[in-house]
């Protein structure tokens, strides 16, 4: 059964009174769950709903609207490769393909050993350093496929 840590429960309670509207605490709370678990399991939504006294349906609505919330498990290393225009012009799509091939994974599907997920994403606002990727919460820029594979391996992928 899913359980929030004491620290995370305290965090959620604090967020509930941080903003003018208590619904504003949903996004920060979902981020917190994701920080603890790597993704947002469906049971977490029920737990949050009870704790926050917000309908489960509404939390799910928010969860599914925003792309940064992982609705299924992701690898310890989540490499998100920008494939929007400036990166596409500079090899972003080829970079994503090369990573999928190198780590033997499909776009957006976690590797069998849980080490890595490679996802194609939209513009990350680092167009002058194309192609680039976001690995967990860090930007890694000015990449070539070889360089990207090496960096990810160094990080344990």
């Amino acid at each position: 059964m899913f359980k929030l840590s004491k620290e995370s429960e305290d965090f959620v309670k604090k967020e509930l009174s941080r903003y003018e509207a208590k619904y504003s605490a949903i996004i920060p709370s979902l981020f917190r769950v994701q920080k603890d678990h790597g993704w947002v399991p469906p049971e977490a939504v029920s737990v949050l709903a009870k704790l926050m006294e917000i309908p489960e349906a509404h939390i799910n609505e928010v969860l599914y609207f925003y792309t940064m919330f992982n609705k299924r498990p992701v690898g310890k290393i989540h490499a998100q490769v920008c494939c929007n225009i400036s990166c596409a012009m500079n090899g972003g799509r080829e970079l994503a393909d090369a990573l999928c091939k190198s780590f033997n994974v499909q776009d957006g599907v976690m590797s069998a050993d849980g080490k890595i997920t490679v996802s194609r994403v939209e513009c990350l606002g680092s167009c002058d350093t194309a192609p680039m990727m976001q690995v967990n919460d860090r930007y890694i820029e000015n990449l070539t496929p070889e360089l990207a594979v090496r960096k990810l391996k160094e990080m344990g992928a």
């Binding site: 504003s24 225009i85 012009m89 513009c123 167009c127």
Partner: protein, 428 residues
Amino acid sequence: MPSQQSLLLSEHYGKPDFAKLEGYKKHGGYAVLAKALKMEPKAIIDEVKSSGLRGRGGAGFPTGMKWSFLPANGEPRYLLCNADEGEPGTFKDRLMMERAPHQLIEGMIISAFAIGCKKSYIYIRGEYDFAKEVVAGAIVEAYKAGLLGKNILGSGFDHDMDVYSGAGAYICGEETGMISSLEGLKGQPKLKPPFPAVQGYLRKPTIVNNVETLAAVKYIIRDGAPAYKKYGTEKSPGTKLFSVSGNVVKPGNYEVVLGMPLKDLIFDLCGGLKPGRKLKAVIPGGSSAPVLTAEEAMKATMDYECLAQMGSMLGSGAIIVIDDSNSMVDLLQVIMHFYHHESCGQCTPCREGTGWLSKILHDIASGHAEVKDIDLVKKISEQMMGKTICALSDAAAMAAISFVTKFRSEFEQHLQAGKRTLGSSAHA
């Protein structure tokens, strides 16, 4: 004009200590706030109005005029800083938040004082983790120094500021989408009127301004509107941060006066194209801005009027330079995939239209289409315009129309050549 850059907003970007309060103060930080707090709020609004400052996020609406739509009573009001930078090709606000967070905060406190607002939020796109960290740290510093909170610098003015993180949705850069998101809802835009200045965040009067706009307020108050208007053109005064990317030798952020010839920006400041390459097209204001042909780009000046006259727009100031190694069919496919992915799904013409366009363009790109499908792209796009709550649908439609109209022969040749191998779409 290469010497005329980094005039105001980016003057100190290169100094590592500028991101911290102490370093910021060394360069005159918060002196303008002290000056502003001694002014009449109305005098600040008048100065901003007379400076001709227009919103730097994309829509280009006059800032002072937006402020004057607020009700003239004591009703509580909010200031939201739009830092949900998501327009493809744009990376100027991220850099400012990372390098000069106090410049934004100072501009915000001055603006808040002018409009009589006691609470503001900086809504930062979720992916900008480092920017969020830097800005949140700067807010803590500002509180400790008495620059935020009660009785700021002994003026009697109280103001609180907080950061709110987005969670991945382009549409939250639309001001009413941002308000929905901050309210804890899906980031879907709201019908206007009522405009946010009358009924915004929690149905209270709300002003939403872009990062660059709010930072510019600081310099307008520091130097006065007449001095600010010496930069730029008569109708487009001031400086602007341009994010240049694509096929230039030196991509990056460049702050120049409005009205600078696009040609000079690309070929002087950005070092031109790679050897042997020819300019094919330029998207002058983020992917929502209709594309310019090389010929148009050579004549364009980077101001609101010239680009509007050419049927495009200055937008967010994201210049995407496209050389002759690219296929326009391929690039439009990438762009349309984006709009389909980011449509919030509220309005039928957008939800369905962006999906159809994305599918048809994928078919065209992979050679599974006919020449008449190029007309279909145009027809669908025309049906998507002016029919929706926000501008996402129009942006997608205008981009599509500009590509298939200005580069029609390339689309035709591509289809006539039969099945061709192009890069896969963004999420094939």
